[in-house]
Each structure stands twice: as C-alpha cells, then as structure tokens.
C-alpha cells in the first residue's frame, strides 16, 4: 500500500474535507428544494427566512387542492409499474433466448435494439401524435403511455438481463432440460430464482426511467394520463408567487425516486453504458 503510505495525514484530511464539500455542494439543490417546501409561499422569497423559519406542513397538506397532485401521481405510478412489468414480460424471454441459445445473429440483434434507443424522439413527434390521435384514437390514455414507456426502455432492459443471464452457467439450464422441464418451467423454476437480484435491479432501474421520462409523457398526454412530469412542466414559471407549494409538489415527485436510486447505483453504470465500462 505504497500510495496510502505516501499520502500524508494532512493530505488525507484535506481530501476528506474536499470530498465532503463536493458531495454536499451537489446535494445542496435537493436539500434546498426540501427546505423550501416547508416554508409558506410568503416566507419562501424573503431573505430573512433563508435558513431559519417556522416550518409548516401546509404545502404538503394542500398538494391535492393546489395541484391535484394525487391524480398525476397515480398516473405516474400506474404507468411506470405497468410499463416495467410489461417490459420485463417481453424482455425476460428475449434475453433468455439470447443468453442460452445464442446464434450468429444475436449480437447484431442486440446492437440493433440498442440503436433504436439512440433515435431522437423528437424526430417522430408528429407521426406519433398523428397515429395515436387520428388513427388509433389512443392519445392521452394510460395504455399509450405504458406502451411508449415500455418501448423506450425495452432495449436497455433486454441488454441488462442478457448480461446477467450470461453469467449463469449453461449446465444448470441443461440439467433442467434433462429432467424434462419445459421452457416455461426453465424460466420460472431455474432462471428467475437464480437471476433474481439482476432482474430486481433491472426492474428498479426501468421503473426510475419510466417515472422520470419527460418527452412522450408530456407530448402525448393532456389530462387523462398526464404524469408528474407533465404536472411540473405545466407549472414551470410561478414568478416567485408559489415557491413553497411548488417545492412541496416537486419534492414529493422526486423524493421516492431519489431514494430508490440510491439502491441501484451499481446497476446504473451497467444499464446506462450498455456494459461498455467494466
């Protein structure tokens, strides 16, 4: 451990202080959002109440009244959960086949799937509006949001599951075949229990991406299926009048997800770099 021995005690203290300072600096805006959410709208813009003020829960208690928060939150929860379940239902068999019965085309299929993720959404904005509004009549429905969220996350989900499944020894699956278990049985009895950790973290990441999606959920909904992204986007410029209540609704929209995110940091690297960084 030559490097540790080399760095002096002084250096270590400086490093610790610096690292903490950077961490706190990056967290500060979130802290500020939460802090502001406990101020009244009037107090939130007064310099004299910057850090010391009488905290109030008023903003949280009035979220439904002020913004109809729960309607949007319910939409976010429904669409994100169903999209995650649907994506996994389509993704697990696909990744299973790719990992345990790879053909020469498997690599190309995977790459092609990833390439769909790289298309800019805005390029197909009007066709999507046209198709869903005039042709299919599913504009502003939960069904549409769920399908779109599933499709944009499917490549990443297949990719992540594929890398997890690849680590499972083929012999175990083969042994199942010998015992006369069919494919569905293999997936259910052998694969899912073995890859449970990987599947869970993939699901978690997929859920987070669905929750935070901010293009299609805004452009393809109006009221019925509008999610939290749409709610916040619609209240973008309060001109200082409603800092308190806007902070509360924002904090409620991101809080649970930030906490969930803490649990899947490791998978995030994999999921976002498509495994290109190890």
């Amino acid at each position: 451990m030559a490097i540790v021995a080399q760095s002096t005690r002084y250096g270590k203290v400086t490093r610790t202080i610096l690292a903490w300072a950077v961490g706190l600096l990056f967290f500060f805006p979130i802290f500020w959002l939460v802090l502001t959410s406990f101020k009244t709208d009037a107090d939130a813009v007064k310099p004299e109440f910057l850090f010391f003020f009488t905290p109030t829960l008023e903003n949280y208690l009035n979220m439904t009244e002020n913004y109809d928060y729960w309607r949007f939150a319910t939409n976010s929860i429904i669409t994100s959960i169903f999209a995650t379940v649907f994506t996994l239902a389509v993704g697990i068999p696909c990744a299973y086949a790719m990992a345990f019965n790879p053909s020469r085309a498997t690599k190309d299929v995977l790459m092609w799937m990833l390439s769909t993720k790289m298309l800019p959404a805005a390029a197909v904005l009007y066709p999507m509006t046209f198709l869903t509004k005039n042709f299919l009549g599913i504009y502003d429905t939960h069904f549409l949001v769920i399908i779109v969220l599933s499709l944009i996350n499917l490549p990443i989900v297949v990719w992540m599951l594929f890398t997890y499944f690849k680590e499972i020894p083929k012999d175990i699956i083969e042994a199942g075949k010998m015992d006369g278990v069919n494919t569905w049985g293999e997936i259910r009895e052998i694969l899912i229990p073995l890859a449970w950790g990987g599947i869970a973290s993939t699901a978690l990441l997929c859920f987070i991406f669905c929750w935070n999606e901010a293009y299609w959920t805004v452009r393809l909904t109006t009221t019925e299926a509008a999610t939290l992204s749409k709610l916040i986007e619609g209240n973008r410029a309060p001109e200082g009048l409603f800092f308190g209540r806007l902070s509360a609704v924002s904090a409620a929209a991101v809080g649970p997800i930030v906490v969930l995110g803490w649990f899947c940091q490791k998978q995030l690297v994999q999921g976002l770099t498509f495994g290109a960084v190890k």
């Binding site: 030559a2 961490g23 389509v90 019965n101 298309l119 499917l154 293009y215 991101v254 995110g261």
Partner: protein
Amino acid sequence: MSNRTLPRLLQSPAVILLLIWMIVPLSMTLYFSFIRYVLNNLRRPEWTTPSFSNWRGFGNYEFVLNNKDFIFAIQNSLLIVGSILFFTVIFGVLIAVLINQSFPGRGIVRVLLISPFFVMPAVNAVLWINMILDPVLGLQGIAVNGLNDIIVGLKDAPLVGWFFSLWPTLEPISFRATQTSAYAVIIMVTWQWTPFAVLIFMTSLQSEDQQQKEAAVLDGAGPWSQFRFLTLPHLGRPIAIVVMIQAIFHLSLYAEIEIVSRGNGNKNLPYLIGEFANNNIGAASATGIFAVILANIVAIFLLRMIGKTLME
C-alpha cells in the same frame, strides 16, 4: 420444435415491437419530409392532408436549411451539448479521482453525489430556474444583494473603505434571456449528469492496475505524473463512452429547454421540431431527419465500441 425455432419465438415479441416502433413512425417522418403538409392553410386546403400529389422533393429540406431558426438551433444544440460534455467530463474525472480512495463517510458522500441524477428533468429545471437562479427571488438574487450590502457597509469602514468604494455594485444575471437561458440549461444539466460521469469513472478506476501504480511510486513518480501517465490513459475509453452516451441523450434534451426558454428564443433541435410541428409538418419532419442524421453520426461510433465488449 427444432433447436432454432423456440429461441426465435421467445425473441420475436421484443423484436417485432421494436421493429414497429422504429419503422412506422420514422418512415412516416421520412414521407412527410418530402411532401407539402401543413395543419392550417386556408388558401391551399389540399396541403392539410398528407398525399403524394403534394410532393415537394427536397423542398422542405431546402426551406429548413435556409431557415435562420434552424441554423441557430443547430448552433445552440452544439453549444449546449458541447459545454455540458466539457464540464461533466472535467468535473467527473476530478471528483472520481478525489473519492476513489477511502475516507471517513465515503459511502454517504457517494449517495449525496449520485442523488441529482435521479431528479426528474422537469423538477430539475423548475428548481434551478426559480429557486436558485432567479435574479430577484432565487438564491442568486439574494446572494448578490447580500454581497452588495456587505460592500456598501465596507465602504464606510476606516482604512480599507477607499478600496471598497472602487467596487461596482453587482448586478444579478437574468437567466431567462435567449443566450443566458442556454447557460441556465448548461448549468442544470451539468449538475444532473456530472454524477453519471463520476459513477462511470469510479467504476473504471477500480479496475486500474494497482501494481503498476506502486511501481511508479517506487520509481519516484509524483501524484501528478501518476495521474497524467497512468490514470488518464486508463480513463480514455470511459471518457469516450461518457461523451458519446451524453451526446446522444443531450441532443434530444427537451424538458429543460421547454421550461427555461419557452418564448424567449432559445431553442435546440427537438424544440424547433416542436415549434414547426404546430403547423408546418413538412418542415418539422425534415428537421427530424436532420436530427436523426446528427444522432447517428455519434451512435455509429458508440455502437462499434459497445460491440467490441458485448460478447466477452
């Protein structure tokens, strides 16, 4: 069932869904980009329904290329994406190196650092433009006012007062103008994506060859030359990947621009497409094709790099 049929069957739902998702809307965009197609036109009502008889060839592309907004949107997209990449990579490398070694509370610092990445884009924009960057009511305005008060106070101080009387009164910056709102977007997205860069660089640093480092130390290499000749080359590949992935994500940046810049002239390609799509679908589609081409230039390199590690 043969050995090949079943795996194909299992893959087919995913493949078919993605195939439809990719081909149908994109070919419609391609088609619309070659015809005259507007949503409202009283004098030429025949242009309001898509049809081959309204064929315009490359006319929409010409129109877009000669449009001042398009040139501005391209420049602005490049400014925004380029700046974000520059800052996230620099901060990312520095922070990753800083927290790569153990220190008290490292786990907590990691959690604090990664948090911004999970904030939804709409909240990110609302939070920064209102609560932090607002020139009057945000922290920026409050900080500038506070600083001015301190300077005014110091002007009356004995001995050093003359020095502070030379100082001008500071003006808070409004981040809602055309150019400054682009800076606001750069700031907020850099805040959100630096954690991503840190996370990836840290993952990569953990696989750095420690023996090589120790040997370098024995040879008398200082911290700077260790960083310059060992760590930085080791990070070359992750940096390339961070740059490409972010380029693809940020070229389609939308919520932040929409929230910060609505109506003030600041725009990028996706935003311009949205504007065109309010009426001129032909132009919106041609712009969309340009956006696809731009993203593909980056995507090809990225996919090649991913492909190399895929089957290892």
